[in-house]
Amino acid sequence: MDTLLKVNSLKTYFYTIDGVMPAVDDVSFEVMRGETLGIVGESGSGKSVTALSIMRLVPHPPGRIVGGSINFKGDELLTKKEYEMRMIRGNKIAMIFQDPMTSLNPLFTIGDQIIEALVTHQDLSRREARDRAIEMLKLVGIPSPEKRVDDYPHQMSGGMRQRVMIAMGLSCRPDLLIADEPTTALDVTIQAQILELISEMKQKMNMSVIIITHDLGVVAEVADRVVVMYAGRVMEYGSVKDVFSMPLHPYTRGLMDSIPKIDVNEDRLKSIEGTLPTLTEKFKGCRFKDRCVMADRVCHEEEPPIVEIDNRQVRCFKYI
């Protein structure tokens, strides 16, 4: 398998009045052709900023990509001009977002919004683009698409709107789809359908997918490999099979314990106690130290490097 996307030592910082916030700090991973990569971590760990960095859409100010490289199909994205990035966005790399209720413009029909993506990147007349839009709506499972194409977003349910977002994202047949928490805002029953749709579309279109989630359960369902992020860092990175059969990092283990299990009858889900650290200049040691059950002296003094063991990467002193 060849590499489609290679993110190397990516650093995206936010410069706010409270100081510098390293939202994404030395993050590296690869996405192979035809593969689904999961990025998992609790809210605020830098997943969305990673995705926006790939799209080169980090809000600036206050955010800025300060280091690293993002290689897509052999091309460096971080040195591309804005107009060159525009030819990639929505065309080669598409992105869909967490909340389908707010990610579609309420004042334009869904057809209009899909057609817009098509005519921006492809040499199509409006008529042809409209036919393609209807085709895409049909493909993502919208009933009577030739009628719904003229609907406004408010005439559709959340699940339907997320299907529309997927249709829009895939309309130009991108090589990579980035789905940022695509099911978080949806009902549980709809969640499964959307995940299934993404997997199915990946097969049909022969593309790669990055799926971002705070739920390891989602990763287990759709991803081939997984990046576990915490406070801007990659804590563990490996195949889903390996990570699930034997999680190495204490944070990954914590996340595993918080997946609801049907066969175990527990009153409450276990969750990791505590919250993300505030990363000031004075911060020392492992970023997970305050919540780690295995933390010892060295963890408070120094930060562990990320090391490779058995086809997997992990950032913890226990494995050095």
Partner: protein
């Protein structure tokens, strides 16, 4: 959409009836009555009573109201006590001037305000933004007559490039236009400031919405993202301000018409109030109030045209 417009038009009927009743009753709140005004200070009580009977002022209020309204619906607003001219005729010529003035200044206000507002929002905290917002504070706080006098001093007295005052003839001529520029700027300055501030804050709010990120992620240029996706959404509060302002432009025209000696409906209203020319007062107030109501209707219809969620219930 058509259904929505029909519904709004039907809702207009009670509003307009209400307006006409208020306008009609207004006369009763003014001390003295029409017969005394017409008869003059030297008239005897008998003369006054005769006039009262002739004008139907001895009839109950509702009879008078229906008589008045049956004229109004035929376009007959009565006759001036002062000149004997038909009220509708007197209003018509002046209405064109005032409405033209308001329209002209609204146009200036919208063009300047919207452009400045969008640029200020997109270039938030730039020098352009700071300068625009400072000028707009001046625009909002400075009284209209002061701005008008200032402009007269600059352009008419010092630079001598525009006529000082006195639009008496036709508005839609070259001469009329030259007379209209300063009053329109004077009147529009305040509105353009309001519109600029509203546009700026509205665009700033919209560009943080998720669908703006979706539009960018599609690969659209920033120009299309702002002018299509952001601006159309920002338009609703902007239209509201424009609607309110257009109403106050008509009201504000009273001051500007006085400063620039323009023969408009505002001045006519003031003159007829001073002369206690009741039919003329009723007529002008009725026409201005109806214009207000119609502008509101227009604004509501524009809302619905912009936002499909409004006519959809």
């Amino acid at each position: 959409m058509t259904g929505y417009i029909v519904k709004r038009l039907l809702q207009l009927i009670p509003v307009l009836i209400g307006v006409s009743i208020v306008v009609f009753l207004m006369i009763y709140l003014i001390p003295g009555d029409a017969a005394e005004v017409i008869a003059g200070p030297t008239a005897t009580a008998e003369e006054i009573t005769n006039i009262r009977i002739k004008l139907g002022l001895d009839q109950p209020a509702y009879v008078q109201y229906f008589r008045y309204m049956s004229g109004v619906v035929r376009g007959d607003l009565g006759y001036s006590f002062q000149t004997g001219q038909a009220v509708s005729e007197a209003i018509a010529t002046r209405y064109v001037n005032t409405f033209g003035l308001a329209l002209f200044s609204a146009l200036i206000a919208v063009i300047i305000g919207v452009t400045a507002g969008i640029i200020s929002a997109v270039k938030q905290n730039s020098w352009f933004d700071h300068i625009c917002m400072s000028i707009s504070i001046l625009g909002i706080s400075a009284p209209t007559f002061w701005i008008g006098l200032l402009l007269i001093i600059i352009f008419c007295v010092e630079l001598k490039i525009l006529p000082i005052s006195g639009l008496s003839g036709q508005l839609w001529t070259w001469d009329g236009m030259k007379h209209m520029i300063l009053p329109a700027i004077t009147l529009g300055f305040n509105s353009s400031a309001m519109i600029a501030r509203m546009t700026r804050s509205s665009v700033l709010e919209i560009i943080h919405q998720d669908y703006i990120m979706t539009a960018r992620a599609k690969g659209l240029s920033e120009f299309i993202v702002i002018m299509k996706h952001a601006f159309k959404n920002a338009l609703i509060p902007i239209i509201t301000v424009i609607g309110i302002d257009f109403g106050s432009l008509l009201g504000g025209a009273v001051v500007v018409e006085s400063v620039f000696a323009i023969n408009g409906i505002g001045r006519l209203m003031v003159q007829s109030i001073n002369a206690r020319d009741f039919p003329m007062v009723q007529g002008t107030v009725l026409v201005v109030a109806t214009t207000f109501v119609l502008i509101n209707l227009m604004v509501d219809i524009i809302y619905a045209a912009i936002d499909p969620r409004i006519s959809y219930k």
